[in-house]
Assembly symmetry: C2
Homo-oligomer: 248 residues x 2
C-alpha cells in the first residue's frame, strides 16, 4: 500500500530558510516519523522563496520586446521581461500564451515565473536555479538530521500539449532514478513489453499534488511505500533532447 | 491521508467478463471494503479484453499505405493497418514513431493499439470504443452490488511532448469531475491563483500506476481519501480542442 500525506506544520518560508531543517522539525511537531525510502515532494514555490529567487517587479526595466509581447499577452511588461530573461527559447507566443523552454530545458508556460503564493503583490517567483541541487541539499540535510535515506522531488505545475488542465511534474530529483526502465523485460504472458520507460518522478509529483492542492498551503508531502530504484538521480533524465523531440 | 492499494485477486479477464462483478468479488476475497468516495482506477487493457476489443493480426489485410509505413516504422504491416484504422488524424510519422489522434480525440502513439499483456502473440488490443461508457458501467455495477458510490477512471499509459518517459492518464471517467477548477479563487495570501485547472483524473491515473506497474498484473487500483467533485464526468473535459491547441 502507498500512503500520501502532507506535513501539516510547515512554517511560511522566507529567504535564507533551510527547507531540510524546516521539514524535519515540522514532521517532529506533527509526530510523523520520516522512514527509510520515503519520497518527499516539495513544492517549487517554497524552494524558490528559501533560495531568494524572487524578483520585485519594480526592480525590472522592461525591454521594447517585453513591452510589445505584454500588449498581446495582456501581461505586466515587467513580468514578461522576467519571463524572457528566464527563457532559453520560445516555442509559442500566441494570445495570452507564452510557452518557452527554460534555461534548465523545461518546456512550460511563462518559464515557470509565477505570482501566486509568493506573498507580495509586486513580486514573482522564478524557478530554482538548479532544482536537482535544491533536491540534493534537502535530501542531504534530512539525512544529516535523522540518518534516514529518502528520495526528494521538487515539483511544479505545468500544462501539457493536447490535454486540458495542468498536472504536477518533477523539476528536481535526488535519491531516485526518475525513470522506471522496463526495456528488455516481459509482460505477464512472456511477451515483450510495449511500454518501456515510466516517468515515475512525474507520477510521484502528480500523486503529491492530490494532497498539496494549490489553496491549502501544504508544500511538503511524503509518499510512503513506493518501489523505486535508488540512485543519485537527476531531472535531466526527464528532459527530452530537442533533436529527439517531434513537437518542437 | 491518501491510500493507494491494488486489488490482489483480480482474475485474468476474458471477452464477455464484467469488470464490475470481478472487482467487487476480488475486493471481497481480499477482505477489502470498498468505501464511499473511493476512486477505482482500471487499466485499459482489461477493459478492452472484457469488451472483446482485441484483433487477431491474421484477420487483417494491410493496405498499401500500411505496408509503406510499416517499413519505415519497423512494425508489422497488419499492426500498422489497425493503427491507421483507429486514427482520426496523424500528427507525426517519423522513424518508429506514429503519433496519432484517435477517434476519441486522444493524442498518443500507435492509437493506443498495443501488443503487451494481451496474452496471445498474434493479437493486439484496441482502446475501448467508448471509455467513458466503460467507466460508467463499472461504476454503476459497483453501486448495484454494494450500494457504494465510487468514482471510476479507465487509465492508459501515454507518452508526452518534451519529456521522456510515459505516465498513466485517464482515458475514461465516471463519477468525478476530471478537472479541479480553481478559476476565480485566491492563493494563501489572497492573490489570484495563476494555476487554474488541475487535471486530477490524470494525476489519479498516474498515482495508480505507482501500484499497477506493468509487469505485476495489478490492473485494478483503489485510491482512498482524495477530495474531488462528484459529477457524472467525462474524459472529454481533458481533451483540448484542436483549435485551442498550440501543438498540433
Amino acid at each position: 500500500m502507498i500512503q500520501i500525506f502532507g506535513l501539516p506544520k510547515m512554517p511560511l518560508v522566507k529567504a535564507g530558510d533551510r527547507i531540510g531543517d524546516q521539514l524535519v522539525r515540522a514532521a517532529k511537531d506533527a509526530s510523523i516519523r520520516i522512514e527509510d525510502g520515503d519520497i518527499i515532494v516539495v513544492a517549487q514555490k517554497i524552494v524558490s522563496k528559501a533560495e531568494g529567487n524572487v524578483v520585485t517587479l519594480n526592480s525590472v526595466e522592461p525591454s521594447a520586446l517585453a513591452k510589445t509581447v505584454a500588449i498581446g499577452a495582456c501581461k505586466d511588461p515587467r513580468h514578461v521581461e522576467i519571463i524572457l530573461r528566464e527563457a532559453a527559447g520560445i516555442l509559442r507566443m500566441q494570445g495570452a500564451h507564452l510557452i518557452v523552454e527554460t534555461r534548465h530545458g523545461f518546456v512550460c508556460a511563462n518559464a515557470g515565473v509565477d505570482k501566486s503564493n509568493v506573498g507580495a503583490n509586486d513580486s514573482v517567483a522564478l524557478l530554482p536555479v538548479n532544482p536537482d541541487e535544491s533536491a540534493r541539499a534537502i535530501r542531504e540535510r534530512v539525512h544529516e538530521l535523522t540518518g534516514i535515506d529518502v528520495g526528494v522531488i521538487i515539483s511544479d505545475t505545468f500544462g501539457r500539449a493536447w490535454r486540458n488542465g495542468q498536472t504536477n511534474v518533477a523539476i528536481g530529483v535526488a535519491g531516485l532514478d526518475p525513470i522506471m526502465d522496463y526495456r528488455g523485460t516481459q509482460d505477464m504472458f512472456g511477451a515483450q513489453l510495449n511500454v518501456t520507460q515510466i516517468a515515475i518522478a512525474d507520477e510521484l509529483a502528480s500523486a503529491a499534488e492530490l494532497v498539496m492542492r494549490k489553496r491549502d498551503g501544504v508544500p511538503v508531502v511524503i509518499i510512503r511505500g513506493v518501489k523505486y530504484v535508488r540512485a543519485p538521480g537527476s531531472v535531466r533524465s526527464l528532459i527530452r533532447p530537442k533533436e529527439e523531440d517531434l513537437f518542437r
